[in-house]
Amino acid sequence: MSPIRRDKVLYFLFLHRTGLFVGLLTAALMLFPLIEDNPYTLGLTNLIAINTIVVLGLNLFIGYAGQISLGHAAFFALGAYGSAVTTVAGGMSPWPAMLLVAVLVGLIALVIGIPVLRLTGHYLAMATLGFNFVIHTVLLEWDEVTGGPSGFSGIPPLGWGDFLFDSEVRLHYLLWGSAMLCLLLSLNLVRSGVGRGLAGLAGDETAAASLGVDTKRAKVKVFVLSAVFASLAGSLFAHCYGFVSPDSFGIFTSADLVIMVVVGGMGSIWGSLLGAGLITLLPEWVDVFATYKDFVHGGILVLVLMFLPQGLVTGIVDLVRVKIALRRRKHAAA
């Protein structure tokens, strides 16, 4: 291969590096069940995929729009219960039900977001927390519809015709396929002008507004987007396990989701994958973590925020970027 041709190929790869990484990761994930077919392990990785979808949306909201939500488990719950009720009680087929529920949850997020997103900081955290409490209580108390504390069972699996996503291996493809799709969509968003506007919004609202970013509208849009992601993940969760109960959607779930975002790093789309993975797996790896899960998660949150306020991955990446740039500056000066 001539050097010019090689440069061209390298340039092409560089230009499409994001697509390339997503493609490689997807390929690796598609091959994963060939190496590892233990249903327990696959069950865990499937849960990571579901969490990843929620965390991607939440990370856009926290890391890009610069807001906070302690209530995203509520949107997750609305997706899960929405799918459960529409398919079992309503008799809808799962795919259209999932879309319908996602649209409805998006509308709910819009109605809530418009007034609530006028708040900032602690007030916003409290308001979203309150929303989570309301939804959780409704799930517990409205037992004719939701099944109350004992949960809702008999949710049909997803499928096409006779082909059903009913084994861990099949679910692996469905869930990771969806997660990779959401990853790609998020990556596209943050690499666009809209995404830069959002990053600006997280950095300095006044400056972003003075550059033409409609900050109020942008916040609501991202909030709705993240709610739709959470709803889709919830629907997948319901169809994957066939059973949902209010326990999965309390405020501790919301807190865990925020911790996943923080560990992954605010505004780091790839980090979302790592955050979801790490926090989902941690209780499995070490027994102590399983027993004292909430303590450990709280501890992680405090430590990360103290030493790397931008989150683990983003914090480290920032440090490296600054180091490299400083070294280059020294070189340029010399």
Binding site: L185, S186, N188, L189, R191, S192, G193, V194, G195, R196, G197, A199, G200, G203, D204, T206, A207, A208, A209, S210, L211, G212, V213, D214, T215, K221, V222, L225, G267, Q310, D318, R321, V322, A325, L326, R328, R329, A332
Partner: protein, 254 residues
């Protein structure tokens, strides 16, 4: 091009701006000067929608923009820089400048998520324009640096690049040379002259009298929220009211 008519801003009954009236002519540099606390930054904020005037009207190109939200004012073609820097520290220098073009990449979130080929193409053109803007300010080699590590003077220039990259009709500069040494000040002055030659209309808030007298076509003097003089640099320099405002202040501080 820009007309202020009786613009007032009360802060709890205290007037920060008191019926300010003046025009900014197209293609000219209008300088806004005045002692500290005269209300210069408040005025800029009232024009750009960061703050809302309590009275009076702001008209831009025959359009009433009084009380319009900041992003709407920006989209009409008014760009600004800030007195205390407001760069996005975590974004790269290039991305900071690209934020100045945020409107031109399309505003639809769905389209952005699908990243259709036309958007990809447009994105490449925007990057090119942002690099050109950085090059004009001699910063192209630092495009990939995080904005946080730049030296103060460079940060000021990135803000200028970010404000000018979208070719705004009117550019509001809030103390562009504050805190710069004389070499850097001269360089920024040179860039402002070039911007004016390129047909930009500039409203310049500045303390550096040498710079103001050098490049302004019209000078507006504010004191305690009131507009006390409008005229050419020479007229203003000889205006007894202006001298008193400045000398009076010097006596007070001495």
């Amino acid at each position: 091009m820009l007309r202020l008519d009786g613009v007032s801003r009360l802060f709890g009954g205290l007037p920060a701006l008191d019926r300010v009236c003046f025009d900014v002519a197209r293609g000219r540099v209008t300088a806004l000067i005045g002692p500290n606390g005269a209300g210069k930054s408040t005025l800029i904020n009232c024009i750009t929608g960061v703050d809302t005037p309590t009275g009076g009207t702001v008209t831009f190109q025959e359009r009433d923009i009084t009380g319009l939200a900041a992003h709407r004012v920006s989209r009409l073609g008014i760009a600004r820089t800030f007195q205390n820097l407001r760069l996005f520290p975590r974004l790269s220098v290039l991305d900071n400048v690209l934020c100045g073009l945020s409107g031109e990449g399309g505003r639809s979130m769905v389209m952005a998520m699908l990243r259709l080929p036309y958007l990809r193409h447009r994105e490449r053109l925007l990057k090119l324009r942002a690099l050109e803007a950085l090059d004009r300010f001699g910063l192209a080699d630092k495009a990939s640096w995080p904005a946080s590590i730049l030296a103060y003077g460079d940060k000021k220039r990135v803000e200028l690049a970010r404000a000018t990259v979208g070719r705004p009709d009117l550019l509001l500069l809030d103390e562009p040379v504050a805190g710069l040494n004389s070499d850097e000040t001269a360089a920024v002055g040179e860039q402002l002259r070039r911007l004016r030659a390129g047909g930009h209309t500039i409203l310049l808030v500045e303390h550096d009298m040498e710079l103001v007298m050098d490049i302004a076509d019209q000078v507006v003097v504010l004191d305690s929220g009131r507009c006390i003089a409008v005229g050419s640099p020479d007229e203003v320099r000889r205006n007894p009211v202006v001298l008193e405002a400045y000398l009076g202040q010097m006596e007070a501080t001495a």
